[in-house]
Symmetry: C2
Subunit: 217 residues, 2 copies
Amino acid sequence: MATSGPVRATSGSPIPAKRYTKGDRTKERIVDAAAELFSKSGYLAVSLRDIAGAAGLTHAGALHHFPGGKDELLMRVLERRDQIDADVLFDEHLDAWDHLDQLLHIVERNAMTPGLVALYAKLSNEASDTDHPAHTYFRRRYEILREHFAGILGELAGDRPGPRPDPDAAAQQLIALLDGLQTQWLLAPDTIDMRGRLIDFLALLGIDTSRWESDPG
Amino acid sequence: MATSGPVRATSGSPIPAKRYTKGDRTKERIVDAAAELFSKSGYLAVSLRDIAGAAGLTHAGALHHFPGGKDELLMRVLERRDQIDADVLFDEHLDAWDHLDQLLHIVERNAMTPGLVALYAKLSNEASDTDHPAHTYFRRRYEILREHFAGILGELAGDRPGPRPDPDAAAQQLIALLDGLQTQWLLAPDTIDMRGRLIDFLALLGIDTSRWESDPG
DNA sequence: GTCTATACGACGATAGAC
DNA sequence: GTCTATCGTCGTATAGAC
C-alpha cells in the first residue's frame, strides 16, 4: 500500500485524480447492458454481440474493455450485485434478529427479480467445475454465507432451552433450503412460497417467527 | 395397442421378434457416450461431435438416430437414469419408513457419483427457462417428488403428537434441502455431509432418526 | 436403414488497421 | 478506443453414397 502513489520525479504532473475517463463510462454502459440481458435471459443465451450492441458498440469493442471476455463480464455483474447484498447482510450495527429481517427482505426482493435469481442459480451450479471462471468466487461466497448465518443461528439458539444443534450445520441447511427453494420456484413460481417455507424452517429451528407471521406490508 | 403386431398377410414371414437391429445397438452406444460425457462435463460443454466421436461415428450419423439433436439425446439420458430411481422410490410394497431408507440410500449413492449429480443440478436450473428442452420434464419430476414425499411425511406425522405441519410444505422443504446441499457439496465436497444434514432435517420434523444414527455400514 | 460429406449461420475470440 | 476481418467451433440441416 505504501507504493501505490505515483513516484515519477522528473514530471511536474503527478498524474492526479483523472477519474471517469471515456473508457470508464463505456465500461459502465457495457456492464449495465450485461446485467440487464443476463437477468432477462440468463448467461448462456446472451451473446457478447448482444451485450455490445445494447451498449452501442461491436463485440470486439467490448472485448477491449473486458479482455477476459464474457466470463469477466459475468464476474463484474456478480460482484456489483453482491456488493449490494453484502452491505445489508454484514452491517455490524445490527443484531441477530435484524440480520434475519434482512434475509427476509432479500428473499422478498428475489421473488420480484426472477431473472437475476435464475442467473445466480444456474451459475452456482455451473461453477462446480473446478476450472469454471466463477468457481472460487462461489466457493468463497458460500463460505462467507455459512459463517455469517452460523453466527446468527448460534446467537439465537442461546436464547432458548433444549438441545443445542450445531450452528454450522444449521447454517448449511438454511442456505441449502434457500437455494433449493429457488430451483423449484423458478420452475413453477405459482406453487412455491419461498418466504413461507423459510419461516417454516426458522420455526423448526426453534426460532420465534411471530414477527414475520403475516404477509409483508 | 391392438394394432401393434405385424399384419402383412401375403408374406410367409410375419417379421417377428427382429429385435436388436444394428441401429438399436448404435443408438445405445450413442446414449452411453452421451451419459458419460454429460456426467463428466455437463450438458453445454459437450458437443454433439464429441458424443458422436466417442460412439465411433460422425455427428451427422448420430443425428440420423436422434433427429431431435442434442436435446433429444439429453432427454434419453435423463429418462434412463430416472427409471432406476423410480423403481426404488415408488415401490408400493414399501411403507413410509422403507421409503425414507431408500432416500438415504440414494443420497449415499449420489455422494459417490458427483458427475451425474452435477448434471442433474445444472440441468434442473437451466431448465427454468420455459423453452428449455427439459423444462416440462423437470416440472413434472418435482411435482411427482413433492407428491411422493408429502405422502410419506404426512403418514409419519400422524405417528406423533404436537402441531401437524403441512405435509406438502414439508415436502417442498425436504426436496429443497436435498438440492441445495448438492450445490454446496459439488462446490466443496469436503465441507458438506449430505447424509448428516438430511438426517438433521428429518429430526427437526420430529421424525425418529435413531435407525440412521451411525454411519452407513 | 445407416451413415458420410458438406454447407449454413452464429458464437467466442484474436490480430491488426484507423 | 473502436473498428473490420478472420479463425475455429458450435448446433443444425440437406444431399446422397452404400
